[in-house]
Symmetry: C2
Subunit: 364 residues, 2 copies
């Protein structure tokens, strides 16, 4: 089997480069078809690779002299630090070197470096940062995970951008999350079609008119974890904040658990009895289990790992990138997007709903 070549931004993230390379070493142990290309400061990276004993023939280093720090202005940094590790990594993908890219660096910089360097799929107006997270199983057939997009790439969106997010999300859910007919929900401040600002009202209308879409309508923040939508479409600002808000709440629950532990012998015994279920629950809510957020819409898949990623999170991100690369996700996606667009025109029928005016007053 040919090795999958994953480009790894070794300098990105709060714990780079140590945890990045540790994570890659763990990924190499789990997958024999993985080849790591570490992009970054050769002098800092090489000793760690040696210390972690990543075998010869499973890695190489591409030197990059600069690093984009978390407090750099993403746009300026991407434009000015030409030799930053994420820029070098993105240019490699542009030049058809490597099968996917993993970075734990600044989200903005990662998205912008990709947008600047890597061609987008035809029909996709803009790249999108997605998040895959655990959700309740509302039906027996549910996958137990949902994808939300965008979660930080495009803070305020146009109608067409939100529609493209829906298409990308459906495809990801079908191909990677194994959902047959993904249910799409539009995140809004209420379920009613009239809720939200103009862009949301118009997006709801456009999605309703797409006969191929399994659109379940607007969903509210409270529905995100309920597993009623496989694909959750939202602007990047709301997506980012609600995702982190829920992450923060999960962390608070863990801390509450620790406080309860210290409280009394009775509660200590209670927790010991619950240990098996709690452990399962913790694993389910732990973001590091999910590796990272896919950045979709480019000619290769990019995985943006959490800035605070430890080795385990990086390992999972790299394995996810490798899996997606092996399934040729982006090639399949390109074909599917084309079909989606073609079918959209073919399916164009007169309005069914008597309440809707014949000439829809969409804002384009």
């Amino acid at each position: 089997m040919a090795l999958s070549e994953i480009i790894i931004d070794a300098m990105g993230g709060d714990n780079a480069p140590l945890e990045i390379i540790k994570g890659a070493a763990q990924a190499c142990l789990e997958s024999s078809s993985l080849f790591c290309v570490f992009v970054g400061d050769r002098n800092r990276i090489k000793p760690i690779i040696k210390a972690e004993n990543i075998p010869q023939g499973r890695w190489r280093i591409v030197h990059a002299s600069e690093v984009i720090e978390m407090d750099d202005h993403p746009k300026e940094a991407v434009n000015e630090k030409i030799d930053a590790s994420i820029n070098v990594a993105a240019r490699m993908i542009r030049d058809h070197i490597g099968d996917a890219l993993v970075s734990a660096g600044s989200t903005g910089a990662t998205v912008l470096a990709c947008a600047k360097n890597i061609p987008r799929l035809p029909g996709i107006e803009r790249g999108v940062l997605a998040a895959v997270f655990p959700a309740s199983k509302s039906q027996r057939t549910d996958s137990g995970v949902s994808i939300m997009l965008d979660v930080g790439a495009t803070l305020h969106c146009t109608v067409n951008q939100l529609i493209s997010f829906a298409i990308m999300g459906i495809h990801y859910a079908k191909n990677i999350l194994s959902v047959d007919n993904p249910r799409v929900g539009l995140l809004n401040i209420g379920e009613e079609e009239t809720k939200g600002h103009d862009v949301l009202v118009d997006t709801n209308k456009t999605l309703r008119n797409m006969s191929d879409f399994n659109f379940i309508g607007n969903i509210e923040g409270k529905d995100i974890m309920r597993g009623i939508a496989d694909v959750i479409v939202t602007e990047g600002l709301t997506g980012n904040i609600v995702l982190k808000g829920m992450e923060g709440m999960a962390e608070m629950a863990m801390q509450t658990g620790k406080r309860i532990w210290k409280k009394s012998m009775l509660s200590k015994m209670g927790i010991i009895m619950l240990a098996p279920v709690l452990k399962k629950l913790k694993k389910r809510l732990d973001y590091s289990e999910y590796g990272g957020a896919p950045i979709l819409g480019f000619e290769k898949l990019i995985i943006k790992a959490h800035g605070r990623s430890n080795a385990k999170a990086i390992k999972n991100a790299i394995l996810l990138a490798e899996k997606s690369a092996r399934s040729k996700l982006t090639t399949q996606m390109e074909a599917s997007i084309k079909n989606f667009y073609l079918k959209m025109f073919e399916d164009k029928k007169p309005e069914k709903n008597g309440d809707t005016p014949e000439k829809p007053d969409r804002k384009e």
Copy 2:
């Protein structure tokens, strides 16, 4: 003691009018200084009041012939249903009848009906929907609650609107939550000053330049429940969605608890041992304990109770409205806002930070 006259929209909310009036009956039992003015369909309200045995002298009915439904377009409904209960209630507050207003109806309609009818406090550009919720105590002196605003009244905001939210929030935290020097955080996609879209970058800059403000900088979604900010400033769209997202997650945790309960005798025993702490935690996370969201910026306080409110949530909303009315919150707020603005001009000093240009390039 004079009775506090609370205007109650008896027709607003999923469970109106039954749960609204039940809640009012419970509130009357807890507070002897409460007088309820029920606004709505007299023929539907009166039998329930009788059935609930609310004593004579503690209530009256003001008839309103129309109701704004949850799926009405808020703006159209408020403008067209002149005699809707929320419109009648808001006009009473405008005419200095009643000390505060409680509604569990459509959030948009409540905010718009207030905006249309009730004068705003001088210096406040726009009314704001706030949420008070439990947060960790990051320091011993913390109150354990935070206020987030806006959570749904103004979906996208200008810099000046966000600044006014901060001022209102500080005042509410000082007066109602008893926080001495409230810490203000700006909700954003990252802690760095350069994160977010232009309005967020400019708001961060403006808040940093206000010497009177205890501004702790940008906070992320994960920080909301950490109790590091007493006042969390955000656009209404993000505020609404993140708040409901966290609510939904708390609900999921409760359901997981119920599933664990059914799992095995061992886990059942574990939960029984944890019952005292779990009960405390449930009470802490239950939105109905917090009654409702204050709508700030008007000449009287308005409490918007959750649309799904049961009697208990309505009771707490009415008691909160009464407490705020008795403390003359809006009168104090008006004076304090005036001081804030005056002090802002008095305190205007040359820039301290050498990095900041002398003439700030704020967008007004």
